[in-house]
């Protein structure tokens, strides 16, 4: 197979870059030192944010490390639940897409913020599902909210790519 020719095809270049960025980024966050220095503190930060929102909503919530608890319910936020996966997939998509670096930077930062907000809504809603509909907690957690967050990431990428490619067209 002619690798040079493969690289010139936009779809194969996107897929190669996307998979490469995804592999490198997920390998980096899997390293114990990175996990201890970045991922765990970040997950604790997400837990503190969630606790803050729950307190704003009148819940007597307290946060201990990655656990958010109230007298009525408690959730522990793990690596897969902190929004980092969707964020890394989104950023890989943004970096691999043929667009200007400025558009990529704006997209990556804006997307990160949006995904974190969506994830915050997810954690808070799961907390209330745990209180009021505990039978549905597991199902809501596994396939409803995970699907929603990933599709939200894909939708954000589509919206960003539309703006980024329009900007390229306008500058031609």
């Amino acid at each position: 197979m002619d690798l040079k020719r493969l690289w010139t095809r936009p779809e194969s270049r996107f897929l190669i870059l996307f998979i490469a960025i995804l592999t490198v980024s997920f390998t980096v966050i899997a390293l114990q030192t990175v996990n201890d220095a970045v991922v765990d503190p970040y997950t604790s930060f997400v837990a503190r944010m969630s606790g803050g929102v729950l307190r704003l909503l009148g819940e007597d919530a307290s946060v201990q490390g990655c656990m958010v608890r109230s007298p009525r319910f408690a959730v522990t936020i793990y690596n897969g639940c902190n929004g980092l996966i969707t964020s890394l997939i989104f950023i890989s998509g943004v970096l691999a897409f043929p667009a200007r670096w400025r558009a990529k930077a704006v997209g990556a930062i804006g997307g990160l913020v949006a995904i974190q907000l969506i994830n915050l809504v997810r954690i808070v809603s799961l907390f209330y599902i745990g209180i009021y509909l505990p039978r549905f907690f597991s199902e809501s957690h596994i396939f409803v909210w995970q699907s929603l967050v990933i599709l939200a990431g894909v939708s954000l990428w589509v919206v960003w790519a539309r703006h980024a490619s329009t900007a390229i067209e306008d500058n031609r």
Binding site: L15, F26, I85, I89, F143, S147, S155
Partner: protein, 206 residues
């Protein structure tokens, strides 16, 4: 004269409905089938490289029981949740249903090819779950049978198929098989530049 449809608007408008439809389809029809099909395919793969062939993967509820023929009778049976392995089928279906002309022959062919790739990834994911269980979860036997390197390799492969592959695969597959359609959705390719969803007769250049 009717306005040509804007693929971006069609996609954005359809996505929430597509997600709801895909969830219903998965819950009512696909989940019971995939709960059995993925473990069956994974068992085939494990046994193909196993000597003696002792692994049996049995679906019980929404979990897979790992039954080895060489387990002592009365020993606890390890289980793995299976829903998490194949729920990403919802994402692939939702993305396909949201694209323009989802029931055209071209799109159905692409969905079939994409689904085959996703099913393979799900099979690998479950296979590495089982292999990691063997390498790390069975106490002294795991330590005797698997090297540190094997444990590291299986950990990484399980992690990789569990997180990035599981969540990114539907997006990648959708994009990879529908590059022309997705580029029209994001406006990077004009409708008149792109090949349509309809099949066109290929002409040989002379």
């Amino acid at each position: 004269m009717a306005q040509p449809e804007n693929p971006y608007r069609t996609f954005v408008r359809r996505l929430p409905l597509s997600l709801a439809a895909a969830m219903l389809l998965w819950l009512l029809l696909l989940r019971p089938v995939l709960d059995r099909a993925v473990p069956a395919s994974s068992e085939l793969l494990i046994r193909a490289f196993e000597y003696p062939r002792v692994t049996r993967l049995v679906t019980a509820g929404h979990r897979v029981e790992i039954r080895r023929a060489d387990f002592r009778s009365g020993s606890a049976i390890p289980t793995i949740p299976i829903t998490e392995v194949h729920f990403n089928t919802i994402l692939l279906l939702a993305l396909y249903l949201a694209t323009p002309r989802p029931f055209s022959r071209t799109q159905m062919e692409r969905l079939f090819m994409g689904w085959c790739v996703l099913f393979s990834i799900q099979t690998l994911n479950l296979t590495f779950h089982v292999k990691l269980m063997y390498a790390m979860g069975l106490g002294e036997w795991s330590l005797q049978t698997y090297s540190d390197l094997a444990r590291d390799v299986y950990s990484y492969l399980q992690y990789f198929t569990d997180l990035p592959a599981r969540f990114a695969a539907p997006f990648l597959i959708w994009l990879g098989f529908n590059w022309d359609v997705v580029m029209r959705i994001v406006g990077a390719q004009r409708a008149d530049d792109a090949p349509s969803g309809r099949r066109t007769r290929r002409t040989r250049r002379t």
